[in-house]
Amino acid sequence: MKFQIEDVTVYFPYDYIYPEQYSYMIELKRALDAKGHCLLEMPTGTGKTIALLSLITSYSLSKPETSIKLIYCTRTVHEMEKTLAELKLLHNYQIKHLGPQARLLAIGLSSRKNLCVNPTVLAAENRDSVDAGCRKLTASWVRAMAAENPNVPTCQFFENYERAASAAVLPPGVYTLQDLRVFGKEKGWCPYFLARHMVQFANVVVYSYQYLLDPKVAGIISKEMQKESVVVFDEAHNIDNVCIEALSVSVRRQTLEGATRNLNRISQEIDRFKATDASRLRAEYNRLVEGLALRGNLPITDNWLSNPALPDDILKEAVPGNIRRAEHFLHVLRRLVQYLRGRLDTENVEKESPVSFVASINSHAGIDQKTLKFCYDRLHSLMLTLEITDTDEFLHIQTICDFATLVGTYGRGFSIIIEPFDERMPHIPDPILQLSCHDASLAIKPVFDRFQSVVITSGTLSPIDLYPRLLNFHPVVSRSFTMSLTRDCICPMVLTRGSDQLPVSTKFDMRSDPGVVRNYGKLLLEMVSVVPDGIVCFFVSYSYMDGIINTWNDSGILKEIMQHKLVFIETQDVVETTLALDNYRKACDCGRGAVFFSVARGKVAEGIDFDRHYGRLVIMFGVPFQYTLSKILLARLEYLRDTFQIKEGDFLTFDALRQAAQCVGRVIRSKADYGMMIFADKRYSRHDKRSKLPSWILSHLRDVNLNLSTDMALHIAKEFLRKMAQPYEKIGGSGRKTLLSEEDLEKMGDGGMDEMLY
C-alpha cells in the first residue's frame, strides 16, 4: 500500500498496516525532520523493523536532493539477515510501484569469517585465524613479494578484485551475506573487500552494533560515514551493556604468559630485521620522529583493529621519544607485563581508580601516562614494520596494549578491580585484573555527535526516561506505544505456587530446595501435555539450568516430559546450540513439538525469535537478577548512584525485569500470532517488581492471574488455547480497527486521526 505522511509518500509492502505502525512512522518522521535523536518503544510483534525501513527509505526517496544513508545496527548476524530479508521484500515492492528510480543498494557487512569465499582461509576455526589467514595472502608486503616470486601464495579473489579496480562495484539491490558470497564467487571478486568498499556508496548498510560502538572496529569500518546518515539501533534495550563492554578489558595470568611469549617473538623479529634489513626500522623511527603516529593511508588489507580509545580522545601528537625505538618500546612493554604480574599476585580484592593505578605504574615501573596512552598505536606500527601476518598469535600483547591505552586515556568512569579468585570457587586461585567501564555514555557519545539522527528502538525500553540518562543524550522524540490487539492474543500469568501450594522462587535461599525444583518440573510436565508445538523455558543461569535438568533427569520428570515433546537445550557451545535450535524448529515444523531450555541473558534469549508455532508458551523460571556479588556490578551500581542518583535496588530490578520481558516477548510476531507467558516466581506478584514490566505485558496481566498455582495456570492455559483456536475477524471488532487499509488511512486525514490512534 501507498500512503501519505505529511509531505512523504510512504511505500509499505503489505495490504494492511497496524495503527501503531502508522503512528510509529509519524513519530519517526518528526524526528527525521527535526534532525534529532529519538527513542521509541513499541511492543514486539507489531512489525517495528518493516515500519522503520519503509519510512526511512520512502523519506529519502521523497527527498532525492539530500542523500540520506541508513545505518541499521543489529545485535547479531542472524538479525541482520532477517532485516535484510524484510528490506528485500520492501525493495521489490518499491521497484514494482516506482520503477527504477526506487533502486537502492543495501548491503550487510560482517567479518571475513562470514564473508570469505576462499576455501583455504575459511578452513580456519575462529574469526581471528580467518583474519590472519586472509592477511597472510593479501597483506601489501606479501603481494609485493608475490609479484617477484610466483611461488608465494596469494588470494585469487582479492587479486581479481584489485585488478578490476574501479570496475568492481555491486549493482543496486539488496545483498544479504549469502548474496554477497554468491556474487563474489560468480565474479571471482573478494566479497569482503568489495563490501567494505561499497559501504561508502550504499544507501542502506546493515551491520553489528560493534561496528559503530566499539572504537576498535568503528575506527576502521565506520570512519567515512556521512553526517546525514540515520543510525538505527534495533533491539536496543541492552545498548548500555554493549557500550560498557566495548570499553572494558580484563587481564588474566594466561594473558600475561601469552604476552611474554609474544614479546619474545617480537624481539626475535627485531633482531632478524636488524641483521637483514635495518633500514626499515630506521625508517619507522624517522617517521615517528616526524610525529606521524600512524602512517596516513594504509592499503585496505593491512588494516588492523584500531585504537581502543574513542577517536576524540586520541591525542594528535607525536609518539613520545622513549618508545620510538623498537627495542625501547619492547622494554616498556616488558616492564608493564612484569608490573601487572606483580599486581595479580594479590591476596585480597582490590579496587582502584585509573588515576591512582597510573600513578602506581609510574612509580613502580617508570612508565608515564602519555607512554601508556600510545602503547596501542606504537604496537600497531611495530607489527606492520615487522611484517607480521599471523596476527591471531598476538592477541595477548594486543590486549595488554589495549589495557594500557585505555587506562592512560581515561581518568573517570572506569575502575580497576583485581580479584584473586572467583567467589563461587574460592579454592581455585584464578586472579584477574579488570578494567571495567561504568559509563555507557562514553562509547556512544561519538555516535550521537557525528550523526544527525540516531534512533534507539526496542520492544522493551521501560522506563523510557532512564535511557537518555544512562546514555546521556537528548532525544527530540521519546515515546512508548501500546499494542492494539484484535483479540487477547497474549496471556501473561504469574505463578507463585506449585501444585502442592508451596511457594516457588529462585531466590537464593530457596533455589536449591528440592520442593521448588519438583514444583517447577511438575509445572512444565503439566504444560507440555496441553500446549501444542513449541514451548520455551528460560532459567536464570547456566549452572542453575544444569542443576535442575540433572535433578529432573534423576527423578524421572525429564523422561515424562520427553513422552510429550522432544527436549533441546542451550549449551555454552555455540555450534551445538545453533544445531539444537535448528532441530527445535524442525520438530515444531513437523508437528512433533518440542521444548527448548534456555538461559536468560544467554545468546538465545538475546536474539532468537520464538514466534508462531515455534513458541506457544514461554516459562520464565525465576527472576533473572545479575550476580549481585560481582565486584564489577557493585562498582557500576556505585557509579550509577553517585552520578545519576539511581538506587541500586531499582537498577537491579529494572535490569532483571527487562531481561525477563525480553525473554517472554519473543513469542509474538504479529497480531494473528498468540502465546502465553508464565512468570514462575512468587516475587513477580509483588508490585515493585511487576510494575517494571513493559506496559503492553502489564495491560494484559489480569489481577486474577497474579497469584496462581500450577493447577490454576493449567486451567487458564487450556481455556486460552481453546479460545485462540476459534476463527476471528482480523480487521478488528466494532470499536477500534486494528488493521488499517489504504482507504482507512485516506479517510482519516488529519481530523479523524486521533480517535483511531491513541
Binding site: 521484500l89 555455540v574 545453533t578
Partner: protein, 597 residues
C-alpha cells in the same frame, strides 16, 4: 528409485528345494537377465517381462530366506534367493512397477469381461491390502472363500482402497522411542554386585545412531578384536564411569584401556558432522556467525566474571560429557527418524545397514542447491507478517485415519466432555420431514446448483461441523452411556474374546447388509441368486449371536444383549424385506418393489 534397471547378486533356483546357482540378476523394463557366476553352469536365463504374470516373495520377519518368485503365464516360476531383504525389496518394487506398467496397458480389455481378468498389479495390490488389514482378511476369508460373495463383489464396495494414489502413499515408518537410552536401567539379582543389562537390537540401533563413535568402534573391533559381549561390557563400564560424573576417574581408566577410552572421549565424528551441518543451518538462527562480529568477546575483552559467565574446569575436559549434550543428540536422532529399515535381529547387520544408509545420505548431502533454495523460501516466509496481507494457501496434509474406531472413540470422549459443560446445547434437529418437503428441498437445491454451479466449499463449514458433532455424539454413544465411567467403554469390560467376536460380527453383518440392500431392485437373475446367497448367510448369523450371548457370564449378559439387539434389528429388517419381496415376486403383482419396505 527411478532407475531403469536393477542389478543384484542372487541365486537362481528352479524349484524351492534346489540349492540354486549363484549369479547376477539384472532387470530392465523389458526383460529379466540372469547370468551365473560360473559361466559353465546351466541356468542362464533371459525372459521378457511381458511373460511374467505376477510375483510372490517371502515376508520379512518370517524365518525364510529372502526369496522372490516370479510366475510366468505358463504357470512356471522362477525363484531367486537374494543376499538380504533390502535387495529383495528393491527388486520387488521394481517388478511391481514394471508389472503395473504392463497392467495399465492391458487394463482396457479386462473391463470388457464381466468376470474380470485381473492384472498382476491389481492382484498384488489386493493381496497387499489383505495382508495389511487383518479384519479385511477375515471378512474376505469368510465371504469370498466360502462363496457368499464373489471376488468382484467384495472389492466393488472397496474401490477407494484400490485407488492407486491412496495405496501409493508411503507407509508410515516407526520412529525411535522418545525415552533416552541412558534410561536403560540394569537389573540386579539382589545378592551380588553383578548387574545385567538387557540389550535389544532396537536399543543397539539407537545407541549406534546416537553415538557414531561407538558404531565405528563396533564395526572395527567386533568380532576380530573382541567378542560382542566384551564390547558391550566395556561400553557399559564407560557409561557407568560417565554417570558417576567423576571425570578424573574416567581419565585414569581411559589411560589404561584404549578401547574404553573410545567410549569416554568426546565423539569426534559428531563434532565434524556438526561442522558440516552448521553450514546448512537457517541463517536467521545461526548464532555461530555472530562470533565473527563479536569484538567485545575477544579473549580477555569485555566484562569477565559476570553472573552469567560460568567457569569450566579445563582439565579432563576431554572426558566430560554433559547431560545437555546427550539430550540434544538424542532429540536430534529421534527427529531424524530411523534411517534403516532392516530386520532387527543381528547386531552386525544393524551396524552395517546403518553405515550404508549414512553413506547414502552423505552422498545426497553433496547437492545442496535445493537446500539453500528451501532455506531462502523459509526465510522469506518467516519475514512476512501474516495478517497484514491476504491469506496464504498452505499445502494441507490429508488426514489419514487408520482405524475409524479409534478416532470416534477419542472424539466421543471429547464430545462428552464438552457437552457436559454445556448440557442441552445441542438442540433437537427436526427429523420428521414429509416426502413432499424432502422432494421440494431437493428440487430447490438442484435448481440452484444448475443456476449457479457448485459453490466452493460445497458444504458450509458450519454445517459440516454440526454434522460431525452430531456424528461423534451419537456414534458409539451407547457404549459410554451404559458404562458407569464415561471414560470406560462397555466393550472393554467384556472378555476379550467376546469383544472381538462381537466386533467381527458387526462388521460382517454390515458387509452382508451392504451387499444385500445394494442388490435391490432385483433386475437380473444374477442379483436374484446373490440375494439368496446373502440371505442364507445372514440367517446363519442368528444362532452365532445367540451363542455369544450364552457364552458370557450372566452379569454381562444384559449388556451383550443390548449390543446384539441392533444387529438383530438390522438383520430382521433385511429378512423381512426379503420375504415380502419374495411374496410379491411369487404373486407377480404388477410393478416391482422399489427397495422400500
Amino acid at each position: 528409485m527411478a532407475s531403469t534397471h536393477v542389478t543384484k547378486r542372487a541365486k537362481y533356483k528352479t524349484t524351492i528345494k534346489d540349492p540354486g546357482t549363484p549369479g547376477t540378476l539384472r532387470m530392465t523394463f523389458e526383460k529379466i537377465l540372469f547370468v551365473p557366476h560360473n559361466p559353465k553352469s546351466a541356468g542362464k536365463l533371459d525372459v521378457e517381462f511381458r511373460y511374467i504374470k505376477g510375483q510372490k516373495h517371502t515376508k520379512e520377519g518370517s524365518n525364510k530366506p529372502p526369496w522372490l518368485n516370479l510366475t510366468n503365464n505358463q504357470n512356471g516360476s522362477f525363484i531367486f534367493e537374494f543376499e538380504n531383504y533390502s535387495d529383495l525389496q528393491e527388486c520387488r518394487d521394481f517388478v511391481g512397477k514394471v508389472l503395473a506398467k504392463g497392467g495399465e496397458v492391458s487394463e482396457k480389455p479386462t473391463v470388457a469381461y464381466p468376470d474380470e481378468q485381473l492384472s498382476a498389479a491389481e492382484m498384488e495390490l489386493r493381496i497387499k491390502l489383505l495382508q495389511e488389514d487383518s479384519e479385511l482378511q477375515k471378512l474376505h476369508k469368510q465371504f469370498v472363500l466360502s462363496g457368499v460373495l464373489t471376488e468382484t463383489e467384495f472389492w466393488a464396495t472397496r474401490k477407494k482402497l484400490l485407488d492407486r494414489e491412496v495405496s501409493k502413499k508411503t507407509k508410515q515408518r516407526l520412529g525411535f522411542k522418545s525415552a533416552m537410552i541412558s534410561d536403560i536401567k540394569p537389573s540386579t539379582d539382589g545378592r551380588t554386585n553383578k548387574v545385567t543389562f538387557n540389550l535389544t537390537p532396537e536399543v543397539i540401533l539407537q545407541i549406534f545412531a546416537e553415538k557414531p563413535a561407538v558404531h565405528r568402534a563396533f564395526l572395527s573391533y567386533v568380532p576380530n578384536k573382541m567378542s560382542e559381549r566384551t564390547f558391550w561390557t566395556k561400553y557399559f563400564r564407560a557409561e557407568y564411569l560417565h554417570s558417576t560424573k567423576n571425570s578424573i576417574a574416567a581419565a585414569a581408566e581411559a589411560a589404561e584401556d584404549e578401547e574404553l577410552a573410545v567410549f569416554l572421549k568426546q565423539d569426534d565424528i559428531l563434532a565434524s558432522e556438526a561442522q558440516k551441518k552448521i553450514r546448512r543451518v537457517d541463517p536467521t538462527l545461526d548464532m555461530e556467525a555472530d562470533e565473527g562480529d563479536d569484538y567485545t568477546h575477544l579473549p580477555d575483552h569485555g566484562i569477565f566474571r559476570e553472573g552469567n559467565k560460568e567457569m569450566t574446569e579445563s582439565q579432563n575436559e576431554l572426558y566430560k560429557r554433559s547431560l545437555s549434550q546427550d539430550i540434544n543428540r538424542h532429540a536430534a536422532v529421534v527427529l531424524e527418524g530411523r534411517a534403516v529399515d532392516v530386520e532387527l535381529e543381528d547386531t552386525k547387520a544393524v551396524a552395517e545397514a546403518l553405515a550404508q544408509s549414512k553413506q547414502k545420505s552423505s552422498n545426497k548431502g553433496e547437492s545442496d542447491g535445493d537446500i539453500s533454495r528451501e532455506r531462502l523460501d523459509r526465510l522469506s516466509r518467516m519475514t512476512e507478517i501474516e495478517d497484514l496481507q491476504g491469506p496464504n494457501t498452505l499445502p494441507l496434509a490429508p488426514l489419514c485415519i487408520k482405524d475409524p474406531r479409534d478416532y470416534f472413540d477419542s472424539q466421543q470422549a471429547n464430545a462428552l466432555r464438552t457437552s457436559g459443560d454445556a448440557l442441552g446445547g445441542i438442540e433437537q434437529i427436526k427429523c420428521g420431514l414429509s416426502t413432499q418437503e424432502v422432494y421440494g428441498s431437493l428440487r430447490e437445491s438442484i435448481s440452484s446448483i444448475k443456476a449457479m454451479g457448485l459453490k466452493e466449499p460445497i458444504v458450509k463449514p458450519e454445517v459440516a461441523h454440526q454434522v460431525f458433532d452430531a456424528l461423534t455424539n451419537s456414534i458409539s454413544n451407547t457404549k459410554y452411556h451404559i458404562g458407569k465411567n464415561p471414560q470406560e467403554s462397555v466393550l472393554d469390560r467384556l472378555p476379550r474374546k467376546t469383544k472381538e467376536e462381537l466386533l467381527h460380527h458387526w462388521t460382517s453383518i454390515l458387509e452382508l447388509l451392504k451387499h444385500f440392500w445394494a442388490s435391490y431392485p432385483i433386475t437380473t437373475t444374477y442379483l436374484y441368486a446373490k440375494v439368496n446367497r446373502l440371505k442364507d448367510a445372514m440367517s446363519n448369523i442368528y444362532p452365532q449371536l445367540e451363542e455369544i450371548k450364552g457364552s458370557v457370564p450372566s452379569e454381562l449378559r444384559h449388556q451383550v444383549s443390548l449390543l446384539v439387539r441392533p444387529m438383530h434389528q438390522a438383520l430382521d429388517a433385511a429378512i423381512q424385506h426379503y420375504e415380502a419381496s419374495m411374496q410379491k415376486r411369487s404373486a407377480q403383482s404388477g410393478e416391482r418393489p422399489n427397495g422400500y419396505v
